[in-house]
């Protein structure tokens, strides 16, 4: 027996004064930024304060709350082998370096959502959106991502649908499956509509986006036949070609070919539907994989550029902190007041149910150590939230008059610059026809009036930031650069989403008719692709031709669907916590669940039952169908045909909103029943986790390895093959 204490690397409860000083400084810096934001009244503040408040809060949330959840609530256990280690087959299960996996996970969760939602929500002012993005991610969004990732990892990478079926039962499972499918259809339609609105009457954008298809096909061929596996050189070539296409777009616009690439929205819808179908049927190496490389690099590069641009340019926030629309609910971009619609409009970036699909997909099968769920799940979502904050900044530094001229429905703005200027004045903002013309000329577009969907607004904001930060007066180039970057990864989402939807449908139909399950069986593949493309194609076409404005009508539905999925994910997580005997920690997912369910159900209720024809789908329907019966034409419809369209669209949208709400209620009620049963008879609960196997891997938990982790890795000659 020796009396000397052996050092215990795992237990370090000593308080390091240096660390206390650092975290105190971070807290104070974050608090100062929040203070500046809170105290600014009727004066413009710099966007820097928003970035500072966000980063400070993220740091605190990651350091303290995420660590608490990982250690106390989930009980991550580094002695336990992850599925990647146990089932390593070099294909889908493979231990992957945490930093690499972080990149993969971030690329999979972040898309156009955190860019578009905040732009639309800017009609409430920058403050409500910013607070929701930052607070929401810390307490709800990042928690959901990390918890679902952990639970899926403990269950060999089971999907959200499978976990819902096992934990809640067949009813909850089926509801979750239908929810996932429905949200995908709406999501794809809304995202495709964003692209259509950005490309319509813009030959520059249409040409450069169309060129991404041959570029991707070339890259696919190069990777398959000429230089197999050389991804980096292929991507460098692809990005070079992409920039060339972007510059060429400017020449095309001024040339005789300009008219060829000036397409109407209806034509673009048709092109996108054909494209989506073909892309879903082709092998992925031809189009999807190379496009994915391009879009991931462009995405990460542009987001980093935007953050750097904001820091260098330090733009002032021209938007009001809170607009009148937040309270009266009469905003032109989307109807409804701050509660609940800010929380619906901004989904990705604060809380996004869709992430639960990624967190229960490939990521849990590749994670090396249990403790890494904090960095990948929580940290990945913080990064997406940062993207959303950048987007709300980009939308809020442009002149509010221009913002409303771009984002109000065409029917409100009329057909001339004069009428648009008058409509904006009627909203309580101002922009002259000359200013509108100048703004369009600055980015070399024919017009910026009624360029809804968020992408053009974001592109204008980004082009202002970039040209202020990097000089050179290349605003038109930056505008089209931003448009192309958004379109690029929206199209990737459309490709991948259609494909995932097709696989899901084939798998489900396989229960009825066996051959369907074989994903390579041509008739099944074509049939399922057609259904999925037909689904989003219908909503896309209906939205684009909707006299009331498609974004205005469909975006709330998309938000509701996404938050519905979050409610399902949080319900599954809370149920698992309770069934594992962790009732006292159930609030960690329970509070976000209650909040999310309240928001989603209130929004659905208003969308279904509101008497206000601007807000409620059925009130809208009644108004227009009564008029139609009387043979009248109400604006914004111009003829009886358009009247009929409005009646059909509002009926479909209203039924969908009601249907989504019903699904959430079914899942929550069913889960409550299961939880109560588990609490009454704890002995009936079966453990759904994969059995414990001791881990032989050693890897750091966070981005930077600690001293203890380094010595532990050195002791076993570690897998760490990288400085």
């Amino acid at each position: 027996m020796t009396t000397t204490k052996t050092p215990q690397p795992q237990q370090r409860r000593t308080l390091d004064p240096r660390k206390i000083a650092i975290w105190t400084a971070v807290s104070v810096a974050g608090a100062i930024c929040w203070g500046v934001i809170a105290l600014a009244r009727d004066e413009e503040i710099s966007a820097i304060w928003l970035l500072g408040a966000a980063l400070g809060t993220y740091a605190i949330g990651y350091r303290f709350y995420a660590k608490f959840i990982a250690k106390r609530v989930l009980g991550v256990d580094n002695t336990r082998a992850t599925p990647a280690e146990r089932k390593n087959n070099g294909v889908d299960f493979e231990p992957t370096d945490r930093r690499v996996l972080f990149g993969h996970h971030f690329a999979a969760i972040a898309g156009a959502g955190p860019l578009v939602g905040p732009v639309l929500a800017a009609q409430m002012g920058y403050l409500p959106g910013t607070i929701w993005i930052i607070v929401g991610v810390i307490l709800a969004g990042a928690v959901q991502d990390m918890v679902i990732l952990f639970f899926s990892m403990r269950r060999d990478g089971k999907s959200l649908g499978q976990m819902a079926r096992e934990e809640i039962g067949p009813v909850g499972g089926a509801a979750a499956l239908i929810g996932v499918f429905a949200i995908m259809i709406i999501l794809l339609a809304v995202l495709a509509m964003v692209v259509v609105n950005a490309m319509a009457v813009s030959p520059w954008a249409t040409f450069s986006i169309a060129m991404t298809i041959p570029i991707a096909l070339f890259m696919g061929f190069y990777l398959r036949v000429i230089r197999p596996g050389r991804v980096m050189e292929t991507t460098v070539i692809g990005i070079g070609l992409l920039l060339l296409a972007l510059i060429a777009g400017g020449w095309i616009e001024g040339s005789a070919l300009g008219d060829t690439f000036t397409l109407s929205k209806e034509t673009l819808v048709f092109c996108l539907i054909v494209y989506g179908f073909v892309a879903s049927v082709l092998p992925i190496w031809m189009l999807l994989t190379p496009r994915d490389y391009l879009s991931t690099f462009m995405k990460i590069g542009t987001i980093a550029l935007l953050a750097v641009g904001i820091v260098i340019a330090r733009p002032m926030m021209k938007n009001e902190a809170v607009t009148d629309f937040a309270l009266n609910g009469n905003g032109p971009v989307f109807a409804g007041s701050l509660f609940p619609f800010v929380f619906i409009t901004i989904a990705c970036g604060a809380l996004s149910g869709f992430h639960a699909l990624v967190a229960s997909g490939t990521t849990p099968k590749m994670i090396e150590k249990e403790s890494q769920v904090r960095m990948i799940g929580y940290g990945g979502m913080l990064a997406e939230s940062f993207v959303a904050v950048s987007a709300i900044i980009a939308a809020s530094i442009i002149d509010p008059g221009l913002y409303y001229a771009m984002n109000s429905p065409a029917a409100l703005l009329g057909t001339s610059l004069q009428s648009a200027s008058e409509a904006v004045t009627a909203l309580g903002f101002s922009i002259t026809p000359d200013q509108l013309a100048a703004a369009a000329a600055a980015v070399e577009e024919q017009t910026l009036v009624a360029r809804t969907g968020g992408a053009p607004t974001l592109a204008v904001g980004m082009s202002q930031i970039f040209s202020a930060a990097f000089g050179g007066g290349m605003q038109a180039f930056w505008y089209h650069f931003a448009i192309m970057f958004e379109a690029l990864f929206i199209l990737t989402t459309v490709d991948a989403g259609t494909r995932v939807g097709r696989f899901m449908l084939q798998d489900t139909l396989g229960n009825v008719y066996k051959p369907m399950r074989n994903v390579s069986w041509r008739p099944g593949l074509i049939f399922a692709s057609a259904i999925v493309v037909g689904g989003w194609g219908y909503f896309l076409y209906a939205g684009v031709t909707d006299p009331l404005g498609g974004i205005n009508q469909l975006f709330p539905l998309f938000g509701i669907a996404n938050q519905l999925l979050a409610a399902i994910a949080l319900t599954v997580a809370t149920t698992i916590l309770i069934k594992r005997g962790k009732l006292k920690w159930a609030w960690v997912t329970g509070i976000p669940l209650v909040w999310d369910a309240t928001v989603t159900l209130t929004a659905s209720y208003q969308k279904v039952f509101s008497d206000d024809p601007k807000l409620g789908f059925f009130a809208q329907r009644t108004k227009f169908s009564d008029a139609l019966d009387a043979g009248q034409v109400l604006p914004p419809a111009k003829n009886l045909d358009e009247m009929g369209k409005i009646v059909t669209n509002t009926t479909v949208d209203g039924i969908l909103a009601a249907f989504f709400a019903l699904i959430v209620i079914v899942v929550i009620v069913d889960a409550t029943r299961i939880c109560l049963r588990a609490l009454r008879n704890p002995e009936t609960v079966t453990n759904t986790e994969a059995p414990y196997v001791r881990s032989n891997l050693v890897a750091p938990a966070g981005l930077i390895a600690t001293k203890e982790e380094k010595s532990a890795m050195a002791a076993i000659g570690g897998p760490e093959n990288q400085p």
């Binding site: 999979a108 980096m232 992925i284 994915d292 990624v358 991948a496 990288q722």
Partner: protein, 66 residues
């Protein structure tokens, strides 16, 4: 630590990261694994390996979010 050696280290780090993230290093890993686990066996050439990998990926699409 000179400036050059720091730069070289940073360059190596970035190159390592990109090769891992894009899957470009998958083939090297496969060959190395084959050598230790099945000594004496002949690994697939790169073309066959990458083709095989692409065809597997075709069966399991990666979800891309909003």
């Amino acid at each position: 630590m000179t400036v050059t050696s720091t730069a070289v280290r940073a360059w190596r780090g970035i190159r390592w990261y990109l090769r891992e993230a894009t899957g470009e290093s998958a083939y090297d890993r496969y060959v190395a694994k084959g050598c230790t686990e099945h000594p004496g066996s002949v690994p697939m050439d790169r073309r066959t390996f990458e083709r095989h990998r692409q065809d597997l990926e075709n069966q399991r699409p990666q979800q891309r979010c909003c």
